[in-house]
């Protein structure tokens, strides 16, 4: 194993591990005030929407809405909402995108 790879792997793993475990260490000791907990309650929606916005609206560092991906988002959202199944959203989204990409 090359020396460069070893140091890269060690360093990258440590700087990834620390932000992962730090909140679990600190917040198991400290109680946040009520507004802090409410703020954290919005984090899941915010993170997921941000990640989605990037994958559906950005390509190569530019604002570029992806028409097929955006179109397939509608049935995927509806599938999850009405079946309450995450797997349904994934399968419906993939099926629609396959049809759009191969037939349209």
């Amino acid at each position: 194993m090359s020396e460069a790879f070893f140091w890269m792997l060690l360093g990258a793993s440590v700087v990834t591990l620390i932000p992962r475990i730090l909140p679990f260490i600190v917040l198991s000791k400290i109680h946040l005030p009520d507004w802090g907990m409410r703020w954290l309650g919005y984090i899941p929606v915010a993170v997921m929407a941000a990640l989605l916005g990037q994958s559906l609206l950005v390509a190569d560092g530019r604002f570029a809405p992806q028409p097929e991906e955006l179109l397939a988002a509608v049935p995927a959202l509806l599938a999850a909402y009405f079946t309450r199944s995450l797997l349904a959203a994934v399968l419906v989204g993939m099926m629609v995108i396959i049809v759009l990409r191969n037939l349209a």
Binding site: M8, P19, L22, L27, P44, V47, L52, G61, F63, A72
Partner: protein, 249 residues
């Protein structure tokens, strides 16, 4: 606290047990298989041996960071530059961990560390959605979720390293869409569970706007973190001003 958990063992074991965590992870498997496969291909292209691919999947265990590390290694960049970049790429875990950690406060420290060490975008999404409206989570359930995602990631990376050359145009099979579709599903479920529709909608739209602007003008990783912090703050401020919106209804 001990008595509280012992009082209802049979019911808890089936509802929040390890196997339930494994099952709850299954919808993420397709999305992670495709990303892990792609990461394996890139790692192979960067000249990583199968041992190195296994090590980076198990120790770094982070999709975009592995792509970036492989790409930068290939470009001949020094380890220090890669480590700094990976740090910023993965700093978002800090926010996700903070959102999940309060559910695990009843657990001893080592269990918290173990669960935190395996935090990913996907397991976070599933856990945050399942736990919406609850106040504590089961260790074995989260472990089942985490271990399934971890093993799936290892297998996907190794498969990419082994068979990467054989599969042309994975987009034709819609594999790259499994991940966005999963996040769409998680958002829809969150929306149902939290019954906080108007505010969550505004938070989601603000996050999308800031993430897109941040990705275009700054960088994708900075964009996600900025979007998360700003959008959550907007949610909190509006909640103070308007009350909890639809939460009571």
């Amino acid at each position: 606290m001990k008595n509280g958990t012992l009082a209802q063992p049979a019911q808890k074991a089936t509802a929040d047990g390890f196997m339930q965590g494994v099952r709850d992870c299954l919808p993420t498997v397709l999305g992670y298989l495709s990303i892990g496969f792609a990461a394996g291909v890139v790692e192979r292209t960067a000249g990583f041996s199968m041992l190195k691919i296994a090590l980076i999947s198990l120790l770094l265990y982070a999709g975009s960071a592995q792509f970036i590390a492989a790409g930068m290694m290939m470009a001949g960049m020094p380890p220090s530059a890669i480590v700094v970049t990976v740090f910023f790429v993965n700093l978002r875990h800090l926010l996700m961990g903070a959102a999940l950690a309060p559910f695990f406060r009843h657990l001893p420290l080592w269990k918290n560390v173990l669960l935190g060490a395996q935090l990913t975008d996907e397991t976070f999404g599933v856990a945050a959605t399942r736990l919406a409206g609850k106040d504590r989570a089961s260790f074995s359930w989260m472990l089942g979720l985490n271990v399934t995602a971890y093993l799936n990631w290892l297998v996907a990376n190794l498969a990419g390293g082994l068979f990467g050359d054989w599969i042309a145009e994975p987009e034709r099979f819609g594999l790259d869409y499994a991940l966005p579709a999963m996040f769409l599903g998680l958002l829809a479920l969150q929306w149902r569970e939290r019954a906080n529709g108007r505010l969550d909608g505004i938070v989601a739209l603000s996050a999308v706007a800031v993430a897109v602007a941040g990705s275009v003008w700054l960088s994708p990783h900075v964009g996600v973190m900025l979007a998360t912090v700003l959008a959550a703050t907007i949610g909190l401020v509006l909640e103070k001003r308007w009350g909890t919106g639809g939460r009571q209804s």
